[in-house]
């Protein structure tokens, strides 16, 4: 597995979750033929080879109780048949009777990209299998501690700069890995950042992801939830790069520090004006070529907000410290060409300057304490846990974006 340039300590590689360790074996990359040729199909010629392989995968898991349901999918708790204490989340994609064009794009994207991405900060897809009636089941890593949004919103949860640094570090490594694999996530926001039982943050929801387009080919600009959408997409850019995700990361960073969304527009237009107020008005001077973007709105000459400098970020985000404020500023640079890439973000001195990031096991968590995952399930619905489950399920539901 590839390692991010700036993993100072890599506890993330050795997970405490048995399910994950086992999954790592399943997805082992060391031996070449994991493929069908290594299987000795049974002499039962009544089932085709593909079906036999599918059966083998399906029989590895036992479906347990339902964790949540959305319009697009149902999420179940699952266990490994051979080790019932290893949990997984089984997401069953609903067959949409309205949609006649086969499997939906959301599902295709999610499966396509998660199959390729194997990294501690990206939700693991252990397996995919079909159940009866041609239902698609995704066996995902079980992430029982909710998401970053829950923590940001809960006033009872207290956290500091070292915790923010730990969370941002995990996010940045996950995003860097996507980009290193030529994949844009295109929907980074706090409630797509789920938390594993050991505190590790995992980037989830790849329903809007896509591979980098080849040069000169267009992509859609209708992606990324509005508050986290960069100005180039709001202006309708059809050719863009990984730094769209970096802008979103910057917004998550700001939100972690402020505990409210930093630029929360009511409409796309409102979002643009709020960005202008906060960071400065995009002009040909600070962003050459911006006026050529399809949805560019010429600013009112009398209300030009100058590009905000370091002082502004320090004032707005005092708890980031001068170095943190500098990193945040480089992530929310208006001109995408001048914005830092995910790799450059990881090379910033903030990560190695004081305070050191909190160890993931010691990060604040909403359910409090270090309960075992098994306890969460045997206990009859404590309120907080119930919410955590609902939340985890909802996050896995791609229609809820």
């Amino acid at each position: 597995m590839a390692v991010s340039p700036l993993v100072s300590h890599s506890p993330s590689a050795a997970s405490s979750s048995p399910a994950k360790l086992r999954a790592a074996n399943v997805r082992s990359s060391a031996t070449k033929p994991e493929n069908a040729s290594s299987h000795q199909p049974s002499q039962n010629t009544d089932r085709e080879l593909t079906e036999q392989l599918n059966d083998e995968v399906r029989q590895k898991y036992v479906k347990d109780k339902r964790l949540g349901e959305g319009t697009y999918a149902v999420v179940f708790l699952g266990r490994l048949r051979t080790d019932p204490s290893s949990f997984v989340a089984i997401k069953k994609i609903k067959v949409n009777a309205e949609y006649k064009d086969g499997l939906s794009m959301d599902a295709i994207r999610e499966v396509k990209y998660l199959q390729e991405l194997s990294h501690p900060n990206i939700i693991a897809l252990h397996d995919v299998f079909s159940s009866k009636d041609q239902n698609l089941n995704l066996v995902l890593e079980y992430l029982p501690l909710g998401d970053l949004e829950m923590l940001i919103k809960d006033g009872n949860v207290h956290y500091g700069a070292a915790d923010v640094k730990a969370w941002m570090g995990m996010l940045a490594r996950g995003v860097w890995f996507c980009h290193e694999n030529f994949i844009l996530h295109r929907d980074i926001k706090p409630n797509n950042l789920l938390i594993a039982s050991d505190g590790e943050v995992k980037l989830a929801d790849f329903g809007l992801a896509r591979s980098f387009a080849d040069p000169y080919l267009n992509m859609t600009h209708q992606v990324i939830t509005r508050w986290y959408r960069p100005p180039e997409l709001l202006y309708g850019a059809r050719q863009y790069s990984g730094v769209v995700d970096v802008w979103s990361m910057g917004m998550v960073f700001a939100e972690l520090l402020l505990r409210v969304p930093f630029v929360a527009g009511n409409t796309d237009l409102d979002q643009i004006s709020k960005i202008c107020e906060a960071f400065g008005t995009p002009t040909e001077e600070n962003w050459p070529g911006v006026s050529k973007l399809p949805n560019y709105i010429a600013p009112d000459r009398n209300h030009l907000v100058p590009t905000q400098g370091r002082d502004f970020f320090l004032r707005q985000f005092p708890n980031a410290g001068p170095v943190g404020a500098d990193l945040l500023m480089s992530m929310c640079t208006l001109d995408p060409r001048k914005r830092k890439t995910a790799c450059e973000v990881l090379q910033h001195i903030w990560w190695t300057s004081e305070p050191r990031p909190t160890d993931k096991h010691d990060l604040p968590r909403k359910s409090g304490g270090t309960r075992k995952m098994g306890d969460d399930l045997t206990r009859r619905g404590g309120e907080i846990d119930e919410n955590a489950f609902k939340n985890a399920a909802r996050k896995l539901d791609f229609s809820a974006m």
């Binding site: 040729s37 499966v111 199959q115």
Partner: protein
């Protein structure tokens, strides 16, 4: 070696990379299973027919029911199944047809979409046999799936309308799940095209004196690189007056053509990595240029690695240069017609209609799923016997046509518009099947 590590996590490496032996073995296994199932299905059809009409004339099996019990009677002998090699030929033909189908759209589908569809087809037929699922009924769906996975989305309606002939939307989408399952739900295909573009851009930069020295040879200057590039021996079969830019453009084009054809139609993707494939094609296009490029990467201290890599590249180049397009080669087309004729007799009747199987897994089907197919079966009392009789009719038709008429059918199939033929062919079998 971080890029290699990343590649090793890809599904293309984890699931779809093979050694020559493992690939051969997998195909043999698939072929064996499919052959047994075809024979069993045809035997069931024959038995059903015998019990329904013991005195049926014109079927040789009717007189030999005694020797048939052990499955070795003359009735059995006429079911000659395809060999793995014949299956491969047939699939290759439909891969070539996929390129043509993509060409019929306005605008033509991007190369990458067609290439992905071809790799889907090739992967599909590693664990499925054309005797079970005829490539003509899988091909269009593979292309449609590729439009979805490669961000060239068009509606099913639009897609079906673009197919010559009267293929319906349902025809196209019916095998989608079957294909996805056979692809083991991995949709990402890593193509060699992007690597080629990058390599050409690097060479162009070098020719303009803007080259980046390799980290292993930091003493090189952009000027050294530029001089090196301009002093390489001329390409064979090129005029000496050719400018460096023309030479690069020409090598680029030739390589790309190889990647669009030979790299798609051979086992290259199963046996080699994308960068090995484009470099091998580049070697075929302009050897001195390719050698220079390789030197900028792994010259100097890595010469032992270079030797090792060259062996791999040579093997891959040989594979690529051995490719001859089927449709322009009368000799290969003759073989193909023979295979098609043979397939006509060993097509699994129980799998003839994919649409009918939709949402019915094979396990359920074997326990009398005729009722589940939903459509009334022609001439059947109960669902079960109705379907049996349909199968019997099919098998009989095959036998009757065995003499001559199927020959014309097979010829038909490979002339004119492919998909129209597909409908003609499917006509008699487009009823719910049993089994």
């Amino acid at each position: 070696m971080i890029e290699d590590d990343i590649y090793r996590t890809s599904s293309q490496f984890r699931i779809w990379s093979f050694t020559e032996d493992s690939l051969k073995q997998l195909r043999a296994t698939t072929n064996t299973i499919a052959s047994e199932r075809v024979r069993a299905a045809l035997r069931r059809a024959r038995e059903a027919r015998q019990s329904a009409a013991p005195s049926a004339a014109g079927t040789p099996t009717a007189n030999q029911s005694g020797s048939e019990a052990d499955g070795k009677g003359p009735g059995e002998r006429i079911i000659e199944c395809l060999t793995p090699e014949e299956e491969q030929e047939l699939v290759r033909y439909y891969c070539e047809k996929t390129v043509e189908l993509g060409e019929t759209y306005k605008p033509p589908m991007p190369t990458i979409v067609r290439a992905t569809a071809i790799q889907y087809l090739r992967r599909f037929y590693l664990t499925n046999s054309p005797m079970t699922y005829h490539p003509k009924s899988i091909m269009a769906c593979a292309l449609f799936l590729a439009t979805k996975t490669d961000n060239y989305y068009m509606s099913l309606r639009q897609f079906a309308a673009g197919i010559p002939g009267d293929t319906t939307q349902e025809d196209v989408i019916a095998p989608e799940f079957l294909i996805m399952q056979s692809l083991r739900f991995t949709f990402d295909v890593r193509h060699p095209f992007r690597g080629l573009e990058g390599g050409i851009m690097e060479l162009q930069a070098i020719s303009q004196g803007l080259g980046q020295p390799s980290p292993l040879q930091p003493q090189q200057t952009p000027e050294d690189l530029r001089r090196g590039l301009s002093s390489i021996p001329p390409a064979p079969n090129a005029s000496s007056s050719q400018s460096l830019n023309d030479r690069l453009a020409r090598a680029h084009h030739t390589t790309r053509e190889i990647l669009k054809s030979a790299a798609q139609m051979t086992d290259a993707y199963f046996l080699y990595t994308p960068s090995q494939i484009w470099l091998s094609a580049f070697f075929l296009a302009d050897k001195p240029l390719a050698e220079f490029y390789l030197d900028t990467k792994i010259g100097g201290p890595l010469s032992s690695l270079r030797t090792k890599l060259l062996t791999t590249l040579t093997n891959c180049s040989n594979l690529l240069s051995a490719y001859k397009p089927l449709s322009t080669d009368p000799e290969q087309m003759k073989t193909l017609r023979r295979i098609a004729k043979k397939l006509y007799h060993c097509q699994n009747p129980e799998k003839a209609n994919i649409a009918g199987q939709k949402r019915i897994p094979a396990a359920a089907m074997s326990s009398g799923a005729a009722t589940a197919a939903g459509t009334p079966v022609a001439g059947g009392g109960s669902g079960e016997s109705g379907a049996e009789s349909e199968m019997e009719r099919l098998a009989k038709k095959r036998k009757l046509e065995g003499g001559g008429s199927s020959g014309t059918k097979a010829d038909d199939m490979f002339g004119g518009e492919l998909v129209t033929q597909r409908n003609k062919q499917q006509g008699p079998t487009s009823h719910p099947e049993a089994g």
